[in-house]
Amino acid sequence: MSTSASDVRAEPRASGVGQEERALLAETVSRLFGDAFVRAAGQQERATFDAELWAQVEELGLAALLVPEAEGGAGGCFEDALAIAQELGRFAVALPLAESLLAAQTLAEAGIARPAGALTLALEVEAASQLDPERGLFTGALANVPWGAEAAGVVAVLGTGANARIALLSPAHAAECVSGANLAEEPRARLRFERARAESAPAGAGAALRLFERASLLRTGQIAGALAAALERSIAHALGRVQFGKPIGQFQAVQQLLARMGSEVAAVDCAAAAAFRAADRGDASFEIASAKLRANLAIDLCAAGAHQIHGAIGFTREQDLRLFTQRLLAWRGELGNDRFWAARLGGEVAARGAAAFWLDLTARADAQSGLRES
């Protein structure tokens, strides 16, 4: 995180799938998720694993987007993944696809074979958990695992420091699985293992933090998508809902609120795009922290504003607005709430000193421009 001007690593990760393919990818996933959204319309329960959609995702090879081509993946980069993350948020997709993308990438980096099916990440390893790498056995508990009961495999960083290892566990081998959910009813499970089989490989320094940051990055993309969905519905509602003889969108008070929401959504889009791009180009700790925090800060106005504009109907399960606003409220607290990222960023910036702030801020973009030319 304390990236100085000189140590911004200018090492491109992956060239990705290219501009045109990226646009095509965005279009494909948008259609795919959009159709699934319409198919699920009318269902009260919108957070059960969508097996039909997962089959389509597998067929398209989307879950292996971030896995190198040599290892059977699509060889995509984070900028490619942004398209998927945004559409996941825009259509409130009930699948651990963001988690699968990162789990598959992490396994590929560690040289562990990827199992079939949906994967997820465990970012909260309970204290006293023990991995025995020689025997390949794990005893301990993983908390707050997204879709932990539904996934075929769970990837975690176990152990700390030099002993940290990337591990793959199977929820089917869990001694106990306590299903829970976040406030948007998205599944979050606690998995307890007793001498369960765990394939693992050395993780390298900072692996746990890096995985957490990547998960936060993907979530920032999802937030951007959910914000866009809430905004789109709010605009549509303001244009269609007639009161006092005209659409409420013609009242200045409503227009000004929507304009503020539009600006906030634009800020999150821009921050997310810049952070995903930075992640393809080296250490993106600062950018990811900034982008997730900025996304968190946008949620208050946008979720509350969307409800204000929708009136009482938006507060019901007869309307789909809540699918986005509830997720936004949940996601603001997950993968780093305001306090977490603000304190972290603040600590790093303060430690660098007053004179360094501007130099660091500009050095990041400049280093990236040099990268393109070289």
Binding site: L258, A273, L293, I313, W358
Partner: protein, 398 residues
């Protein structure tokens, strides 16, 4: 509440392929010349910018210093994108952007040439006659000719098209009568580009034209207006039977409205729209030290995220301008969010500081200054309400 099946946002009836027009904030690649350019600027600023207290560095594009502008001009950092034959340097718009942000981050006193560099020069290049360009552009680029904007009038603030200052055609030229207000540094500028009504009978927007008015022309009188902190940077300007030749008209008669509205993206998206409180942040970092406790620690983090995001957005608009687009709505978004943040920061700092720090010392002085001047940030260059109207229009609401 009864279900309304006709309601366009009721479940199942929205067309999910239809999306709102999205604002465009593509990422920008800075030219490879930028690191060298920054190094040159930083060396120059270290040498030429005497140690200035933070409250003088805050909002520094309101601080007039002709000598500093001349030095900048001599280094080729004014009129950077203009053609060389007019004294410009034919650098890219993104290189110019880098110069602006370095000057503002350092708190350099750039008000003297700011308007000429940002707007007036471009207006002359786009609409001016050859004579007007050769007369003014080289001096502007040298940092010796300064311009002011004659738009607002007592009866025409946000509703700019209702300007009443009148130009009447007479033999060989025009006679101008009326009044402008909130004109910044008018006493120290040689030139005003003024929006006036040339055809009172025409429709509101059609009868407007812009003139190049030399400030030493007989009949022009300038009265300073003292602002609430006691500064005297803005003025009102009176025109009493001011005669100007035909050659003072900018572009064709009647084109004034189109000319002023086409400048808005240039005026609204620059780094000056989010950096006005930057000096306060630097001073806060200095006082907070390397390991601050809460709530300062989180405040610093939050502001850092905002600075980074706003810079990405502002840079993106600069990139679009450089590519020849006119991102008017995106510029309005940058200005509105930027102003909101540069106004929020003083408020948050005041709320978080210990009493003693808030009362005395350099941090207290810059804080006091910004708390008072911050309301102007969302007034100048388009009020918040006007900007949000533009953004709402961009979203299809009006």
């Amino acid at each position: 509440m009864p279900r309304r099946p006709g309601d366009p946002s009721t479940l199942g009836s929205v067309s999910y392929s239809a999306r709102v027009a999205q604002f465009r904030f593509d990422s920008v690649e800075l030219p490879s010349s930028v690191p060298t350019l920054r190094a040159e600027l930083r060396a120059f600023l270290a040498a030429e910018l005497p140690a200035t207290p933070a409250h003088k560095r805050a909002n520094c594009w309101a601080v007039f210093d002709a000598e500093f502008s001349r030095k900048l001009g001599a280094r080729g950092w004014i009129g950077m994108v203009w053609p060389k034959r007019y004294g410009g340097h034919e650098r890219s718009a993104l290189e110019r952007y880098v110069v602006l942000e370095e000057l503002l981050a350092a708190g350099a006193p750039v008000a003297a040439h700011w308007i000429a560099d940002r707007q007036s020069g471009m207006a002359l290049l786009r609409y001016g006659s050859e004579e007007q360009r050769t007369r003014w552009l080289p001096a502007m680029a040298a940092g010796t000719a300064y311009t002011c904007i004659g738009m607002s009038e007592p009866g025409a603030g946000s509703d700019l098209a209702s300007v009443r200052t009148r130009a009447t055609q007479v033999a060989g030229g025009w006679r101008i009568n009326g009044q402008k207000i909130w004109t910044t540094h008018a006493r120290d500028c040689q030139l005003m580009i003024a929006l006036v009504r040339t055809r009172p009978e025409a429709e509101k927007h059609a009868g407007l034209s812009q003139f190049l008015l030399e400030m030493n022309t007989p009949g022009i009188r300038v009265r300073p207006i003292t602002d609430l902190v006691g500064d005297r940077h803005f003025t009102e300007v009176f025109f009493d039977d001011v005669f100007v030749p035909d050659s003072a008209l900018l572009g064709p008669e009647g084109a004034g409205w189109k000319q002023v509205t086409s400048e808005l993206s240039l005026e609204r998206s620059g780094p000056e729209r989010y950096l006005s409180s930057f000096a306060l942040f630097v001073e806060l970092l200095r006082v907070a030290g390397p390991d601050p406790a809460e709530p300062l620690r989180s405040l610093i983090g939050r502001a850092s995220a905002q600075f980074w995001t706003l810079r990405q957005m502002s840079l993106s608009v600069a990139g679009q301008l450089a590519a020849g687009r006119d991102p008017m709505i995106e510029a309005a978004v940058v200005k509105d969010l930027g102003n909101e943040f540069e106004q929020e920061l003083p408020r948050l700092v005041q709320a978080a500081l210990d009493d003693a720090l808030a009362r005395e010392g350099e941090l207290a002085r810059v804080l006091a200054h910004l708390l008072q001047v911050a309301p102007s940030f969302s007034l100048r260059g388009g009020t918040r309400e006007i900007l949000r109207g533009i953004i709402a229009r961009g979203m299809g609401l009006r």
